[in-house]
Amino acid sequence: MTIGSGHSSLAPLPGPSPRGRFWELVMQWAISVDHKKLAMMYIGAGLIFFLVGGIEAAFMRLQLAQAGNNVVDPATFNQLFTMHGTTMVFLVGMPILLGFGNYLIPLMVGARDMAFPRLNAFGFWLFIFGGLLLYFSYVGADGLYGAGTAPDVGWFAYAPLTSRTFSRGNSTDYWILGILVSGFGSMTTAINFIATILCMRCPGMKLMRMPMIAWMMLVVAFLVLVAIPILTAAQSMLLLDRTLGAHFFDPETQGSAILWQHLFWFFGHPEVYILILPAFGFVSEIMPTFSRKVIFGYPLMVAATVGIGFISLGVWAHHMFVVGLGPVLDSFFGATTFLISVPTGIKIFNWLGTMWGGRLQFTTPMLFVTGFVAMFVIGGLTGIMLATVPLDWQLSDSYFVVGHFHYVLFGGTVFGIFGALFYWFPKATGRLLDERLGKWTFWLLFIGFTLTFMPMHVSGALGMPRRIYTYEVDRGWEIWNLISSIGVPVQMAGVAIFLWNVVRSLRKGEVAGDDPWDAWTLEWSTSSPPPEWNFDRIPTCTSARPLWDRKHPEDPDAHYE
């Protein structure tokens, strides 16, 4: 084969057919190692899974709208909540947040890409294939015999319900393998985050000048590296139990059912902080911009983040107060759980300090992060109630817990994600999302969210356990469940408007320009969307707010460090 010779003698190649152009576009994305493209694929795939997980939740709420309803059968209902939980944690929360980390870290620390771009792409595709493997269980988990055998063991898959004896077929194996594969993706991404943040900061960007998001992502990356391998190990052990007859979690043969819970929650609790810390980062970037003030107490904020990271590794057994750990362990884990509310509280107070005395501009991102603070306070306080061990004996595994963690993960993480989507959409696409539609999205989500999740605290306190496909009448649960279900269409309307907003704004949204929000971090100094190489010239950094220094040379931040 000759290379480079004779081409000129051929007739010019015809331009690519429309079909050719399509494949060209697909290949452009599929083989990309650009952190921005990967990030957008992470976020896009996460949003698709968000819709899937949301539809699963909608069916559950439809079933529970009335006592004794018959919308889905019990087996299907159990698959729905298992898939909803697994999807929202592993295929929505993680990829969207890691996606934002991917997009923002190089731009914010002034780098041209992540430290390991190809590892980055590898991690993304592992996540995608892990997710597809999990969902393929709907088709393949029973061999050729039929569909509809998705995992039904709950997202925390307590042993021995997951053993061959109680979980026949292959659905649980799909659950294990899907999460295992996407877990490896998360680990590679974490390594990438740490390497990029520690090694690729632009000149002048000391650690204590990094944007808060970079700090949050650094702590998250370490948590991922500590927590996910534990899950991977536990799942491997479970896989051995199921396929090769090992006995790690089989009580019949001196295995331990409680061991699974320890391993799972040693992953599971840091996981909660993996899901919330990046959202803390979004708030810490968006709130100062729209308050027109520097973040209040940056060093304490960093300290609180690192503190949360450490303490979050020592609270896992608060998921296990009803396991019968005994008074000593119960007291210890109750105390550490109370303790983690101190650094978390510091963050909330520092955000209030940031808003205090500012000139607030309630754009859609600001609405979402303010909603975040208000909702997260509620989720945090119900968390304190649950940390009170005796009270947890009543409320654990009840709808109160479902209400609590949705206030944290929906009112917190999802609101943070929506704020971030509205805030950085113009940077990624060059066009602003529509503000009027954005406000509709916020208020519909806010109202729908409150309608759905606030009543769950009541039904839980009235004795309603979670994960039941139907419930008895006359226990005072009906009205609260009905209100919860009414909130669902309201939320769906909010999400639908958001999707329409994205489609519309991509084509005819207002052109954003480089710096639509008059913000202070480095990503706003490059074009929108940024070139593949991010910065024509690697920027230099003089303080925690490099663009403030450029815009206010008379009073730069550097003076106050």
Partner: protein, 371 residues
Amino acid sequence: MEAFASTAQVTAPPPAPPIPSAAPPPYTMKESVAEMDARLVICDPDAPPVSGAGVTGIFAPESPPSRQIRDLSYLVFGICIVIFVVVQGFLVVAIFRGIRARRVASRPDSEASAEPVQIYGSIPIEIAWTVIPSIIVFVLTMVTIRTLRDIDITTPPENSMEVVAIGHQWWWEFRYPGPDGEVITANEMHVPVGRPIWLRLESADVIHSFWVPRLAGKMDLIPGHTNYTWFSADRKGIFLGQCAEYCGTQHAHMLIRVYADEPAEFETWLDHQRKPAVVDASVDAGRRVFAEYACLNCHTIDGLSDGMFGPNLTHLASRDTIGSGFIPLDRDNLRAWIDDPNQLKPGCNMPSLKLDPPELDAVTDYLMTLH
């Protein structure tokens, strides 16, 4: 309360109709599940009127541990509400101040600077909002430990009676050990009023959780790991609860009914349960069906069979419910249940034995005599 009228139906099922010779029409439920539930809940004639706190509410305690938890919860809720009001109050004030500041600064005649004053932090303030929450947290830890010392106990309370609860997919086995022999029953637990019950929790298969909110907090039943919990009913009555740890397909229908009886009534009940099963010659046909088909592999009837996989049926007819507490026990329901349990409780482990209608009627009549 109108359903009080039907109380009698539950406790005294109507006499069994004669066995029809021809195949009866396919079974149809006379009442919806909701109607049956209503009957079941209200069949506690001693219950005070149901308040907003609900028949399974944690704010309507009827036993020392649940009462202590309720009292502790008032303190914790109180502290949380104060924090909530303070934080959200500051947030609301900050929002309105911030909106006004922006409006003032953007007036054309405003002399404000382009940006508000930048405040980078304040050491005293930051120390304050680190130390004050730490103090609150310390107080909460101390009160938690104090309550735990009272109710998270590892030795039985004084004068207590030990009962064993064993979780099965998806029903409850209760055992009353005693010098005169062990009494085994299912799903409906009888206890004497006022005496502490030291409940030993075990599981035959997967993890379950025993939760009767008005009596005590929940505690898991874990295979290979024995747990204990305790309660002491304050008054006569029926206390409802259900399994609170996801345990598979029919987790939702693993209901608990705790009957708190006066001590004398309880002793009578216990003596009665200790007796062997009634042998009534008029239902010999049904007895034969039970003994000749697979029923006996799973169910114990004292003097007839010793299967352990399903509930003990020796005194089945003395109970109010079947199917782990969600179907009232009467002849029609029992017949429908035996015919095909999966119709009523989809996914449950009891198979349909595909009995002929006469066999079905015979075995139903037999079981209805097991008082």
